[in-house]
């Protein structure tokens, strides 16, 4: 109904015939930061993948409206053009494709730089790409801000990158693509405190009135750096409780078991999800 929102309405999705999302409702507006917290296996990542259009997830019910437009029929690349972005928990390595070439293609596509012509000559090939010089300038600036060394541009995408390097690469991509809505899927996992700080600073630099953010996390830790206005607790394929920033602190104190009991959910929690989050993290 409305412009300027990402609306997830009663979203149900299956993976290989098994229901994983069971009626997710969530509205994110530009300028807002939402945190989605939940135990292992609750379907948080499924939600992220479903929103950006991974073919493995079969949508059985519901809608996702981006600025009022249903995007569920769009291909993943079209969703990216409409301003959706996912920072992956496990970015895949693609050997032989340099970071610079990949980013140039990606940025050119998302900004719809030029249009491909009928002619297949080399010149036309180049036409839909941002001129190399302009792109390099922009890339160099962003890399500098993300604390990424220049030599990264020549490396194969995510190939042999450390966990921290991969996550920084994701945020670098986000800074170049300038999405309207960004989902960060467990961006804190596998990061030490320094890397977490760098990555979080990157996200904070990008956030502002034109960006809506959904931070998916298991732990409260990243929320010390990226401050959400809204916190949602995700269990058994849906949001069971929403609140302000203090909800994350409740969770930290009491753990997911408390929530499970409160709502009488018949689900199994992993051992680490049965105790308070602060005990797990420490």
């Amino acid at each position: 109904m409305s412009k300027g929102t990402l609306e997830i309405i009663n979203l149900h999705a299956n993976v290989e015939g098994k229901p994983i999302l069971k009626g997710v409702n969530l509205v994110i507006k530009p300028g807002e930061i939402h945190a989605l917290m939940g135990p292992n296996g609750s379907g948080k990542s499924t939600l992220a993948y479903t929103i950006i259009g991974h073919p493995r997830y079969e949508i059985t019910q519901g809608e996702v409206l981006l600025d009022g437009k249903n995007i569920l029929e769009l291909k993943p690349n079209e969703r990216a053009v409409h301003g959706l972005f996912l920072a992956y928990q496990y970015p895949v390595a693609i050997p032989g494709i340099s970071v610079a070439n990949f980013l140039r293609s990606s940025v050119s596509a998302v900004r719809q730089y030029g249009k491909k012509t009928e002619d297949n000559s080399g010149a036309a090939e180049e036409n839909h790409l941002i001129p190399m010089r302009d792109f390099r300038k922009e890339l160099d600036e962003q890399m500098k801000m993300m604390g990424v060394e220049k030599s990264f541009a020549r490396r194969s995408l995510n190939d042999g990158f450390s966990g921290g390097e991969k996550k920084r690469m994701e945020i670098l991509q986000m800074s170049l693509l300038k999405p309207k809505y960004a989902i960060l899927d467990e961006t804190d996992s596998g990061l030490d405190i320094d890397a977490l700080r760098t990555v979080s600073e990157g996200v904070n630099r990008l956030s502002g009135p034109d960006l809506g953010v959904l931070v998916i996390t298991h732990y409260q830790r990243i929320l010390n750096y990226i401050k959400p206005q809204f916190v949602h607790i995700f269990m058994d394929g849906r949001i069971v409780e929403s609140g302000g920033a203090d909800l994350a602190l409740v969770l930290e104190d009491k753990g997911y078991e408390f929530i499970r009991q409160k709502y009488g959910l018949e689900i199994n929690l992993a051992a680490e999800d049965k105790i308070a989050l602060k005990e797990v993290v420490s």
Binding site: K75, P76, N77, V92, I94, G96, I97, N101, S106
Partner: protein, 470 residues
């Protein structure tokens, strides 16, 4: 998506942009089919010495006596009597493009050859059907004693040098197609690089088939003398006809002590060309031979560039890329024979099959007794883009010496859906994302090519990829 009927009609990709042909009156066209008479006519027209005529006639008998090749790709539809063995497009080979007949010149202009020559080549040869119509080497290289001529011309101008090497590495009896080439050969390049001379920028030959049902049988001979270096590049295209053409070349390379030759091929024949080629190099002490072999076009290719490491400390490399699209079978590979001690070799083969295409790697690595401390590493990776396509690997390794180090790895993979999804989620459309992954897959080989050719190869692969999407 196209439906099946349409797909069957599209065996020849519509985006093969070199599929045009010229309607021209040739200077001479031999009658169709293979015969002793045709062989005599070819030799006659060329005004060859008698030894060459006898060589040809004997090779023809060898060709007849050899059984059909059945161990590789399917050649059963190839009809030797339905092919023109000699078509002479013009009366002579020129040294300036202005002198080349207009229609032929225009063809090469469309292929970008004169422009490439101006920009980044040390010399260019251009063959059109059976004859070399243009040949030019930069003057400073001529002054240093480098010879770069059409092979027929070299027979006339350097008869002794020619006779010393011609057919010595690949005798007519080597295989049926080498025998055929020896009987009806015409054109090709002859290169001699004197001791210590480095030809720093590449020499290129461009082979163009224009006529329908044409057989092109060029013959290339390269002699790199001691401590010299040359990079030779060949490119090939042909018009898209419904009937078949045959390209059957023989390439012999002699690398003397401490010399180095790199031979790069970007084969982009139309999808109605049988491409059956024999290529072999002989390395003396401390010499290096590198084959960089890209096969994108043709209906059937059978080609296994070989290196014989005869001299101690010599090194051989075969880096090959094969792309088999709809209706194509690329049966390619490498052959390396370690004869001497301390010889090293490397084979890297990457193949891509798509839209029902078939890519086969066929390799022979042989270490003879006495080749102490021979070292070799073989890597072949195949990428299959869909369920209709096929990839096979036939690696033969024969080691008769104990003190050796041999590595062999082979992988076959399908295009990775997670990689594809990752790129698409960053705004890149499916077709472009697939080509990027394919380009990434072959990147270790493409980076071995000079920039201009790397770009060309990537572009050709892009075209092949685009043919399938949607």
């Amino acid at each position: 998506m196209t439906n099946d009927v349409n797909e069957q009609l599209e065996v020849i990709p519509q985006d093969y942009k070199y599929g045009f042909h010229d309607d021209r009156v040739n200077s001479y066209k031999a009658e169709k089919g293979l015969s002793e008479k045709v062989v005599n006519v070819i030799s006659e027209i060329k005004g060859e010495p008698d030894w060459m005529r006898q060589f040809r006639l004997k090779a023809l008998q060898t060709f007849y006596s050899k059984p059909d090749v059945t161990w590789g790709a399917d050649l059963s539809t190839l009809n030797f009597q339905d092919i023109y063995y000699y078509i002479k497009p013009s009366d002579r080979s020129e040294r300036t493009w202005e002198e080349v007949p207009n229609d032929i010149k225009n063809t090469f202009e469309r292929l970008g050859i004169p422009e490439a020559e101006r920009k980044y080549l040390a010399g260019v040869g251009a063959q059109y059907d059976s004859e070399v119509v243009y040949h030019k080497l930069k003057e400073d290289l001529e002054n240093k004693g480098v010879i770069f001529l059409g092979t027929d011309q070299a027979l006339k101008e350097h008869p002794d040098l020619f006779k010393e090497y011609f057919g010595k590495l690949i005798p007519p009896a080597d295989n049926k197609y080498a025998a055929l080439n020896s009987a009806v050969w015409s054109g090709g390049s002859f290169i001699y690089v004197p001791p210590g001379v480095h030809v720093d920028i590449p020499l290129q030959a461009y082979f163009r088939i224009n006529s329908e049902r044409m057989g092109q049988f060029e013959r290339t001979l390269i002699i790199a003398d001691e401590g010299s270096f040359v990079h030779y590049v060949e490119g090939c295209t042909a018009p898209t006809y419904s009937s078949e053409s045959l390209h059957s070349a023989v390439v012999e390379i002699f690398v003397k002590r401490g010399g180095r030759v790199r031979y790069s091929t970007i084969q982009n024949w139309a999808n109605n060309v049988y491409n059956l080629v024999t290529k072999r190099a002989l390395c003396e002490e401390d010499a290096t031979m590198e084959w960089v072999d890209g096969n994108l076009g043709s209906s059937v290719t059978m080609k296994y560039p070989a290196v014989i490491l005869k001299g101690r400390g010599s090194h051989g490399e075969v880096l090959s890329i094969a792309f088999a699209g709809k209706g194509q079978h690329q049966d390619t590979g490498a052959k390396i024979i370690h004869v001497a001690p301390d010889t090293t070799s490397r084979i890297i083969s990457k193949s891509i099959s798509k839209d029902g295409g078939r890519a086969s790697y066929r390799g022979l690595l042989k270490v003879l007794e006495g080749a102490f401390r021979a070292k070799s590493n073989v890597v072949c990776d195949a990428l299959i883009l869909d369920d209709k396509s096929r990839s096979d690997t036939y690696p033969y390794i024969e080691v008769n010496e104990k003190q050796v180090s041999i590595g062999h790895e082979a992988t076959v993979s399908k295009i990775n859906d997670e990689q594809l999804f990752y790129l698409m989620s960053r705004g890149i459309a499916e077709g472009e994302a697939s080509s990027m992954i394919v380009n990434g897959f072959i990147e270790p080989l493409v980076k071995e090519l000079p920039m201009e050719y790397a770009i060309e190869l990537n572009r050709l692969i892009q075209l092949q990829m685009e043919g399938s999407v949607g």
